[in-house]
Point group: C2
Chain length 375, copies 2
């Protein structure tokens, strides 16, 4: 992982300032990735094999014969801290949305490889047994978890609800979800080998900040005189706006499959904002000619963090939560199918032969390969 | 979940005293289980179905046609706190063993349903980026994780390494593992429908406390004048003894499969100690006539916590980490196969017609159905 390369202007709030130091995490990630890669050969003893190309992707894929198996574990991150603070300020519970956010982190990554999510497992590690004693909050978490499973048509298999005093902070909860799915038929596999010049880039709308960039959002709240209760738009507080649940995109990818459209590649736009559009390893240029409307809460964050467009688009989703790279002939139909599932979408640009870069014409920003080292 | 029903004698240290209050967790678990059960029907839209009997078991199983898919997420619990304290006292790193413990929590549960574990995902949520800055500790975690994957023949698919300041305590790490496997051929499915009177109970040896009962173990350390450095046996400190890594049992279950032995049922002996032998829902009596040697650290804990046998066997594994219920004719061969994999084992007793109870004859202790409400 890398961090924004633009020099921080006076008063600008960057990720380093928000307390996440990727330089310390990266050596471990590299060592872990190397060790993990060496274990793929074990599958041979079972008559199976890994899809090596999935190693750099958002979910791990194994060829088990009649279909591919995809699996993942994903963490919510620090969004629950915003929910806790807003609950203190308003007396409401926001854990129904938090549950959806957690599941979205796993599902939206799993579907990038072409998988149909089948089973979700819940990981709810609380700072003590008393977390579960707040019945309203606990029931909201359960209700939201079930609702998100219903939306995605996945089975909630079970999970863990440990009380981890001494590891998780008192009164807090560490939320994560694991997800297992199948790529069936195997032609649905999407690890990027089909992506090429001429393909269209379709962007699916986000609902807000989703669950990435929350460290920055929380730091910003400290700077605002009215904190989370500052209005983003009339009647909508910053805290409420941040807590809009992450869009679940699997209904869109499943509808595309039913319509006979197989994306050439997918990118879940999470940490690193639009730089995630550079995720694919090939030397290709991504030219964006139309951008979606920026969600008010993200516009608000950009203004108050005094970020220029380059920094904002390199950190936040700026209105686009998921990118589908499809055959140009299928682009408009992809947009229609997404809309039919209640998700706004637009044909934002195209893939071109050329050096690896993302050119966002409407805002005159270009990101190069050096801006994204994810693998 | 229930807690020991015997009245706590003077000076006895029970789970409630060690800070885990299951009464607060249980209503949430019940609500979550009910909501989760209602989502199983979603699989029908994909042409699949859940194995309903797996709902009460240690891993969730889905029928995907040519084979069954099993998945799980499991938490390490608080054992890392012992590793942290021992690192402070001795200057050594214990995270290689901790990695094995974490994987064992997932794998040893997954195999109870007859699954071959295929893919493990790592969930390492640290209290801050600086956790990963201790290179020796981080490398030990990576090395131990890989080694455990090698032992079990699973592919390490990837994972999450979030830095969760404000949720996870500074300097701490919340460790979990998710695991996906296949039950292939389908005849390997073991959810208890084949268990019956006359079957033998084979117990596989534990290496020590494994990763359950650590809240109690840590509380006990506070009572000891020399704490974790108290000797359990000459030259072996209490802390070191507690940190013996959990035995990985999948090499045994895989060897049994290769030898043509399909267990009628399995129970991973974790929380609730030997009461886990009552896990199967049927009305059956489990008569234990031989018990394994109690690991020194567990004997030490029982003595210092002033627990009688009833309380000790209802909380700790007391030398038995995993139970295999097999056809009586296959019991001795099961023991031999386990030993060939380096795991001590013994034919401990048999299943009988009769009320649901566990009779441990050598220590004159009986647990009834009321002692274990896991479902």
């Amino acid at each position: 992982m890398s961090s924004p390369t633009s020099p921080a202007a006076e008063g600008t709030l960057s990720y380093e300032q928000a307390g996440v130091n990727y330089d310390l995490i990266d050596p471990l990630k590299v060592a872990a990735q190397r060790a993990a890669a060496a274990t793929g050969a074990h599958l041979g003893a079972h008559g199976f094999s890994e899809i090596a190309a999935s190693r750099g992707e958002s979910a791990y894929v194994v060829d088990v014969g009649p279909f591919y198996l995809a699996s993942i574990v994903e963490c919510l991150g620090s969004k629950a801290l915003v929910a806790d603070e807003m609950a203190r300020l308003t007396g409401r519970s926001y854990y129904e949305g938090i549950a959806q956010d957690t599941i979205a982190m796993a599902i939206n990554d799993l579907i990038t490889v072409g998988a149909t999510p089948l089973v979700v497992q819940a990981y709810w590690a609380a700072g003590g047994s008393d977390w579960f004693g707040d019945a309203r909050r606990a029931q909201a978490l359960v209700a939201g978890w079930k609702k998100a499973c219903d939306t995605c048509g996945v089975a909630w298999g079970g999970g863990e609800t440990p009380a981890l005093a001494g590891i998780v902070e008192p009164g807090r909860i560490d939320l994560a979800a694991s997800c297992t799915g199948l790529i069936n038929p195997k032609e649905r596999l999407s690890v990027g080998d089909r992506l090429g010049a001429g393909d269209a880039i379709v962007l699916l709308a986000s609902s807000g900040i989703h669950a990435n960039g929350l460290s920055l959002a929380r730091k910003l709240a400290e700077r605002l005189p009215q904190g989370y209760l500052t209005e983003v738009t009339p009647g909508l507080s910053y805290g409420e706006a941040l807590l809009a649940p992450t869009v679940l995109y699997s209904p869109v990818t499943e509808a595309l499959y039913r319509a006979g459209i197989t994306p050439r590649y997918c990118a879940n736009i999470t940490g690193h904002g639009w730089r995630k559009l550079l995720r694919h390893p090939a030397e290709l240029t991504y030219r964006i000619t139309r951008i979606p409307e920026v969600t008010p809460v993200l516009k608000f964050m950009q203004q108050h963090a005094k970020q220029d467009d380059r920094e904002a688009y390199s950190t936040l989703n700026m209105g686009a939560g998921f990118a589908l790279f499809v055959h140009a002939d299928e682009a408009e139909r992809t947009v229609e199918i997404a809309r039919a599932q209640g998700v706004s979408a637009l044909v934002a640009g195209q893939v071109e032969a050329g050096p690896k870069q993302l050119i966002i014409e409407p805002i005159n920003v270009t990101f190069g390969n050096e801006d994204l080292q994810l693998r």
